[in-house]
Each structure stands twice: as structure tokens, then as C-alpha cells.
């Protein structure tokens, strides 16, 4: 039994596996299948200041080895999260990472302020949602705006702050450096890649939003590349995600530089995917004489 604990920005996780924001709601649905205490942490559904309805359906399209979604941050708002979801989540013996998003910088600051007195373990600031017209990725695609919003939220909270980055940029390392310079304690990447599918019969995009965020195994190599680049560019921990569906993907992501991993789309195919990844990591460590999984991070030997 290897030591699977990892430390992200001062927060200890019992293992490095976290269901990704948007794929796991607030945990309630999957709690019917297994105790959430088995997970390293949970990145909760992206929450905005006020309740948000999201985009019109259809909001999902299948792609070869992947999918597109255009949910558009449908969520019950931060007060609902604090009152109705957080107390229960905190009783589940896992690390609670509150994913937050806002149309404006002021919104994000206000959400962080409201979370400050709660016992949320970490904030994941989403500056990369591709599915909302205002805010979301608008902050995450330019160094200046990414830096500015990170600085503002940093001032509003003492909680560990992780910034979730968009892959839909020319150079992700510049954005990562910019948020690190403004006080981010960690970065998580990649959010989804902007994509599109068209129905041949109707000549209409499958998604009512026309475009949406792509995830699933098809994006995995891109995610590995970006995690590797960012891990080499910053000193803060990197949480890797994008197309991880099995333990070997998680090992690869960690070798690329991730201190922990998030799992999203794979859960739709197999709700037990996070647990299988945890078991697989444990087995891999035992079979390879690795005492602590954290030793794996960044051990790729580039040519």
C-alpha cells in the first residue's frame, strides 16, 4: 500500500484523484454508488453569484473518443451552495474544492468573499469556461485580464486559490505565469477545447449554442503537453486534467508534471472511473517500488 497522499497549496488530499467540476455536480448523485470519502477531493459544479439557467438544449454532442458540452454554467448560485450543499459535502471526509465563475471581476470577488468564512478547503477560479458569453474564458485568454482577476480574488480570500486555465490560447505558459505572479497557489488545466459538430441532415450545429467545450480521451495528448509546458514554467503545483479515463493516464499526467489529477468525461462512461484510477495508481506504485505517489510528479525524462 503506497502513500497516495498529495499536497496542493497546503491542502492535503488522501489521494491525487478529484472528479472535475461539472462532471460530478455536488457529489450527491454519485454518493448513491460509493462513499465520497474514497476520493482525494471534489471540484464542485461551477458556481456563480446568482443562480444561472445555462444554455438552451441540446447541450451535448458525441465526438470520436470525446464529447462537446455547452451547459453554460447552469447552477443554483453561491448562497445555495453554501447553505444546501457545503455542509453535507464537508461531512463526507474529502477535500472540497469550490469551483467559482463570474460574468464580472466584481462577481468573482464577491463569491470569494462569501466563501471566506465557510470551511471550503480550496477555491478553483474558473477563468476558462468556453460556454458563457460574458466572463468565463474572456478572462482566461489574455495575460492581463487573467492576472487582474486573479489579483482581485487573491485580495478577497486567504483560502488556497487555484486558477483553472483555458487551452484555447496561443501560449498557456504565459497565462500560467501571469496568474502565478498575482498570487495563485496552484493552477488546474485544461478546461475544455472549443469545438463544433454539424448535423448533415439539418445543416444545423448539434449544439444549440453552436459551439461547445470538447473533453474526453481525444483531448488527452493536448492536456499532457500543456501540463508539461506549464509545470516547467511555474513553481506552483499543477493539477492536470483533460481526457483521463484510466490509471495509466493519471500516471502519465503526473509524470508530465501534475501533482494531482481531475477526471471529468470518463465518469459519464463509468461512474466508478475515479475509484478505478485510485486503485490502479496504488497498484502501479506497489509494482514499481514507489513509496509515495508524489514522487512521480514531473519525472518525465524529455529527449
Amino acid at each position: 500500500m503506497a502513500d497516495l497522499r498529495v499536497n496542493i497549496a497546503g491542502v492535503e488530499l488522501k489521494n491525487p484523484v478529484i472528479p472535475a467540476s461539472g462532471a460530478f455536480g455536488f457529489g450527491r448523485e454519485y454518493e448513491k454508488l460509493y462513499p465520497l470519502s474514497k476520493l482525494g477531493g471534489i471540484a464542485t459544479k461551477g458556481t456563480t453569484l446568482n443562480k444561472k439557467d445555462g444554455n438552451p438544449p441540446p447541450r451535448i454532442a458525441e465526438t470520436p473518443n470525446g464529447m462537446l458540452n455547452s451547459v453554460g454554467l447552469q447552477n443554483p448560485g453561491i448562497e445555495h451552495f453554501i447553505q444546501e450543499e457545503l455542509p453535507h459535502l464537508k461531512s463526507c471526509d474529502t477535500v472540497v474544492i469550490a469551483n467559482i465563475a463570474g460574468a464580472t471581476e466584481e462577481d468573482c470577488v464577491e463569491i470569494a468573499r462569501r466563501l471566506e468564512p465557510t470551511d471550503v478547503d480550496m477555491i478553483e477560479l474558473n477563468i476558462s469556461c468556453p460556454n458563457v458569453k460574458q466572463g468565463g474564458a474572456a478572462f482566461g485568454v489574455h495575460c492581463q485580464s487573467a492576472a487582474h482577476i486573479t489579483a482581485a480574488v487573491r485580495r478577497a480570500t486567504k483560502k488556497p486559490l487555484m486558477v483553472k486555465l483555458s487551452p484555447n490560447v496561443t501560449n498557456i505558459t504565459e497565462i500560467a505565469r501571469a496568474v502565478e505572479a498575482e498570487g495563485a497557489d496552484a493552477v488546474s488545466l485544461i478546461n475544455t477545447l472549443l469545438g463544433m459538430r454539424i448535423d448533415l441532415k439539418t445543416r444545423r450545429p448539434v449544439l444549440k449554442n453552436n459551439v461547445g467545450g470538447m473533453s474526453g480521451p481525444a483531448v488527452f495528448p493536448i492536456a499532457v503537453r500543456m501540463v508539461w509546458q506549464v509545470a516547467n514554467a511555474v513553481q506552483i503545483p499543477v493539477v492536470g486534467m483533460g481526457g483521463i479515463s484510466a490509471w495509466n493516464d493519471a500516471v502519465e499526467m503526473m509524470m508530465a508534471g501534475a501533482a494531482a489529477v481531475q477526471i471529468g468525461a470518463a465518469i459519464f462512461q463509468d461512474p466508478f472511473a475515479p475509484l478505478k484510477v485510485i486503485d490502479g495508481l496504488n497498484r502501479y506504485c506497489d509494482e514499481n517500488g514507489i513509496e509515495r505517489i508524489s514522487e512521480l510528479t514531473g519525472t518525465v525524462k524529455p529527449w
Partner: protein
């Protein structure tokens, strides 16, 4: 058992039939799921080589045999692959999922309306009422007719319609429903089928003042209420919002659904 309990696992396909062109009938041995399942719920099936599971409504529940029956139409590559599974092989099933139909005492008089591949979820529902259920089922043509004998075997009063008149009455299910409502009282209408059909059914239910429940369909992700992709516009207490077919539905009270 806590409400909303569901399971996931690999279950054996014990019987496979081809009911009509591109329409398959699977009986799956899933004892624990059969115990939990209710009329109108669905199962979410993993298909080898595809990212997303396919939601298929439950057609019949046999608790004594420990089986679930599903009937589906091959619509795309995913369901085509699903139809290739052979008897004796295993299917990865997540279920039972969603909210099913509200069943009244079996002596009440109800009408179950199904159009095309919306017919299967009506069987378990109508079975509960036996002779007290009028079942109105509609298909494009005689060669697409499914489950007609199954409903008759349940003792239901079956009104069969085809668009082209090649079997049963020529016309739409809404015409048959109007006729049935003119003839006498009904305590509830259940409906599943194409959007236009549901809209017509709900209009008639309103006209005759009969409570109505409809089963909806939307492109789905997780199937359990976590990912929020299968949104459908509904109204509750005067407020419009996006409910989710997988968890809040697939069955909704007709008055909550906004037909756009």
C-alpha cells in the same frame, strides 16, 4: 431503499428479438435492478467504442424472473452497435434511472398514448391497469408496429393507428385519443412519443380536463443528474427553469412542460 437508488454493472442479455425493421427487444437479467425499477424509468447503456451511454426506456419489469425488458430503435451508429450484442453476452447497464409514471390504483381508468419508439415505456404502465387502460399506439406503417399483442395480452383495450392506414385505423393517435375522450371518463393520460404528438396529447388532456404525464427525451450525458446537459424547459410555481430529463424526468406532469 432510498429514493433514486441505482446500480451499475454488467448484466446478461438473456433474450433478443427483432420486433420490426431496426427495432430490437432485449431481455436483460438484472435482478436487483428489476427490484428497484418502476414504469417509465430508463436504463443508460454503455456501447463499446462510444463515449456516451445510450438512454433506453424500460418496457417491462419482471420481478419474479429478475429481468428488465427494453425495446429500442436503431437510429445511429451507437444503437447500431448496441443491436449487435448477442444473447448470452453482457451489457453494461446503469439504472434504473429517473422518475417514472405516477401509477394510480389499478381500478382507475387511464389512457396510455405512445407514438413510434415512444410505445415501449407504455407497456409496463398499461400492464398495471389491465382492462382499465385504453392503449392508443401509433406507427408510420404496418411494418413498424410493435408490442400490439403484448398490450392485448395485458387485457388492455388497444386502439392501433398507422399514418398510412396499412394496419388499424388510418390517422394519428391524437384523433383516436379525441374519440376515446368523447366516449367516456379517464382519470389519467400517459404519453410518450414525438414532440408534436405530445403537444397534441397535452392539448386534448387540457381540453377534457384530464391529468396528464409525458415522457420526454433529450441528448443526455451522465444520466443521473450531475452533468446537467439534458435540459428541458419547464415551469413550476410560475417560474420557468431548465429541468433535467434524466433526474427530474423523463416523466413530467404535462402542465410543467413548455412545448416550444
Amino acid at each position: 431503499m432510498e429514493q433514486g437508488t441505482y446500480l451499475q454493472g454488467k448484466y446478461q442479455l438473456v433474450e433478443k428479438k427483432n420486433l420490426a425493421k431496426n427495432t430490437y427487444d432485449f431481455t436483460i437479467a438484472a435482478k436487483e435492478m428489476a427490484e428497484l425499477a418502476e414504469a417509465g424509468q430508463f436504463v443508460h447503456l454503455r456501447v463499446e467504442g462510444f463515449m456516451l451511454r445510450r438512454p433506453i426506456s424500460i418496457c417491462e419489469i419482471d420481478r419474479s424472473a429478475g429481468t428488465l425488458r427494453i425495446v429500442f430503435e436503431v437510429r445511429g451508429e451507437g444503437t447500431k452497435q448496441l443491436a449487435k450484442i448477442n444473447e448470452g453476452e453482457f451489457v453494461d447497464v446503469l439504472g434504473p434511472l429517473g422518475r417514472g409514471f405516477t401509477l394510480l390504483p389499478a381500478n382507475q381508468s387511464v389512457i396510455a398514448v405512445g407514438g413510434g419508439i415512444g410505445v415501449p415505456p407504455m407497456l409496463e404502465t398499461a400492464k398495471h391497469y389491465q382492462k382499465n387502460a385504453t392503449v392508443i399506439i401509433g406507427f408510420r406503417s404496418a411494418n413498424a408496429v410493435i408490442l400490439n399483442d403484448d398490450f392485448k395480452a395485458c387485457g388492455n383495450d388497444v386502439m392501433l393507428c398507422t399514418d398510412d392506414g396499412t394496419m388499424g385505423a388510418k390517422g394519428f393517435v391524437t384523433q383516436a385519443l379525441h374519440k376515446r375522450l368523447m366516449e367516456g371518463h379517464a382519470d389519467m393520460i400517459y404519453a410518450c412519443g414525438p414532440h408534436a404528438m405530445l403537444k397534441g396529447v397535452v392539448e386534448l388532456a387540457n381540453e377534457f380536463g384530464v391529468p396528464c404525464e409525458v415522457s420526454l427525451e433529450e441528448r443526455m450525458g451522465c444520466g443521473v443528474g450531475a452533468c446537467l446537459v439534458c435540459a428541458c424547459k419547464t415551469v413550476k410555481n410560475g417560474e420557468e427553469y431548465y429541468a433535467h430529463v434524466c433526474k427530474d424526468g423523463p416523466v413530467f406532469p404535462a402542465e410543467e412542460v413548455i412545448f416550444e
